[in-house]
């Protein structure tokens, strides 16, 4: 199924140098912003205000990082983000496993409509939900609370996770489950002991994508959280390092590097899974 013939033939048509230039352009435009914020983050506040002349800061220092980590609001916001995103990831994957299995294997009237709705929910305009949810959260005391965000983040994570897992369960042969059920296991036992172990790769993929999507949120956080100690990290860094006279990009960028690190690591270690999860069902 590989389309290598096509690739090789075009290789001759396109001059090698031009191709190398394209690859270089893609690399540079993908990575330049990172290198630039990395550079800025390694300056001291004093050097940053003075205006930097060289490509590298004159005295490379981690002082911006140290200042950030000495800042309790920033530390708290990191903790909040990790807690909220992990909670919504675990919860979504758990619920999506149950729903995906039922949609793939059990007889449910209107299964097609249910699946269609779950997918459509992922396209719902987030900002349209912010107002009504704000009113409800205000009544329920969920404003300024991690729980409110965990629930709201499901709109990012549940549709994708359910779709991924349902697709995966569809591909597992039913014979394993039948054998276990002949031995007297119940459906739930079969799901937990037979199906989930086989589906672990898909479960991990769903978890990684869910975490990345939850980590990406800004709109819900900036609408529901009002007390700085409750802020998520992406929300906290927006107003970071601003004094009356100057924006200290060195501190902002050090914070940016810190909150970028988890997803960069995920990408480096789980590139294949992420790509396969993102494209599942997209190209049939």
């Amino acid at each position: 199924m590989r389309a290598t013939g096509h690739g090789r033939r075009k290789a001759r048509a396109l001059p090698r140098a031009g191709f190398a230039l394209l690859v270089a352009a893609i690399l540079v435009s993908s990575l330049l912003p990172f290198l630039w914020i990395l550079r800025t983050s390694l300056m001291s506040s004093r050097e940053f205000s003075g205006g930097v002349a060289g490509l590298l800061p004159a005295d490379l220092t981690f002082s911006s990082y140290a200042e950030n980590f000495a800042d309790e609001t920033f530390l708290r916001s990191l903790g909040n983000s990790i807690l909220i995103c992990l909670a919504s990831t675990v919860l979504s994957v758990l619920l999506a496993t149950l729903a995906g299995y039922a949609l793939a294997r059990l007889r449910i009237r209107g299964a097609g409509i249910i699946l269609g709705f779950v997918l459509l929910a992922g396209f719902f305009p987030v900002l349209a939900m912010v107002g009504p949810l704000f009113l409800v959260y205000r009544e329920l005391g969920l404003l300024d609370s991690p729980a409110g965000l965990v629930i709201a983040y499901m709109v990012y994570t549940l549709p994708l996770a359910t779709w991924l897992l349902k697709n995966f369960f569809d591909q597992i042969p039913g014979s394993l489950e039948e054998a276990a059920m002949v031995d007297g296991a119940t459906r739930l036992q079969v799901l937990w002991r037979v199906v989930v172990p086989v589906a672990l790769p898909a479960v991990f993929t769903a978890a990684i994508l869910s975490f990345i999507l939850a980590w990406n949120d800004f709109a819900f956080a900036v609408s529901f959280l009002q007390t700085p100690s409750e802020f998520t990290a992406p929300q906290a860094i927006v107003n970071f390092g601003q004094s009356q006279f100057q924006i200290f990009y060195n501190r902002i960028d050090a914070a940016v590097v810190v909150i970028t690190l988890p997803v960069v690591l995920l990408v480096l270690f789980a590139q294949r899974r992420i790509v396969s999860g993102l494209t599942a069902g997209a190209v049939k």
Partner: protein, 288 residues
């Protein structure tokens, strides 16, 4: 193999997912519809009451809102077109075999994975007139975010940087399922690479192109984070988009009736676009 008890279990298993999604999507939609027909201004509780279509009339009669619609649409059309073209080019490059391809693919994936906040702040740093990369390399000290058109360019660049990788990944997956022997056959026919691209690659890539197009159009139409961080809707209100106006109505003006009306319009617009695309796609498949 389904036992009688399986049916009830099935509903039980999908219930939590469906209930949560209903309560955070369908319910807010209904609540918005209801609010959009009433006066609901939190800072002015005495005005509360039924308003009929007043919120919609105010919105549709407001020339500023017409501008918001126009600039959001213009941004969507222009930025999505460019993103699709660039994404296709990146996908074609990544489809070729070359040394270090795995590394380049990972590098391309990173902008997609970083939070939008990070993308926006990175570009804000890059474009800063004093400490930015353009001022460093070329001595350009344009205050990008201070002018209307330059601010839009900055927004499009920051948004495109994060979203082109998504287009590229989807299209690359589409390229990978095109069987290579089709091209062999075309080569026997003696048609050139350019011809093969237009006559074979593009038509066969259509499903992937449609998926990328739907996702990108809807999220460009609803752009919020990048605007909030880069410009806050400014200078003046020249970069306010649909989502931004919705947010301002809800959380700055505390007007949940007016915000509800914008939300309803925004949802209708998204559904119409999603519906139109899928219809087009289906018609197309039937003919093909």
């Amino acid at each position: 193999m389904a036992r009688p008890s399986s049916d009830r279990l099935g509903y039980l298993l999908v219930a939590p997912t469906v209930l949560i999604l209903l309560s955070i999507t369908a319910f807010p939609l209904a609540y918005n519809l209801w609010n959009s027909l009433r006066h609901v201004v939190l800072t002015d509780p005495s005005s509360a009451g039924f308003a009929g279509l007043e919120n919609y009339r105010a919105l549709l009669g407001d020339p500023q809102f017409a501008q918001v619609l126009a600039r959001t649409s213009l941004f969507t059309v222009v930025s999505v077109s460019v993103q699709m073209a660039v994404g296709l080019m990146v996908a074609l490059v990544l489809h070729r075999r070359f040394r270090g391809r795995g590394l380049v693919r990972a590098a391309v994936l990173i902008p997609w994975a970083v939070p939008t906040v990070v993308a926006a702040i990175s570009w804000k740093t890059m474009l800063d007139p004093q400490s930015g990369v353009l001022s460093f390399l070329f001595g350009v000290d344009t205050a990008w975010l201070a002018g209307e058109w330059t601010a839009w360019i900055a927004i499009a660049v920051a948004d495109g940087w994060k979203t082109v990788p998504f287009v590229a990944i989807i299209l690359l997956a589409g390229l990978q399922v095109i069987p290579g022997d089709i091209y062999e056959a075309a080569r026997v026919d003696g048609s050139g690479a350019w011809h093969a691209f237009w006559k074979l690659t593009l038509p066969l890539l259509k499903p992937a192109l449609m998926v990328a197009l739907i996702f990108r159009t809807l999220s460009a139409l609803l752009i919020f984070d990048v605007i909030f961080i880069l410009t806050g809707g400014g200078p003046g209100d020249t970069t306010e988009t649909l989502s931004y106006v919705t947010w301002r109505e809800f959380l700055v003006e505390s007007d949940f009736g007016g915000g509800g009306a914008v939300s309803v319009l925004m949802l209708v617009l998204s559904l119409v676009i999603a519906g139109a695309y899928t219809r087009l796609f289906r018609l197309d498949r039937r003919e093909g």
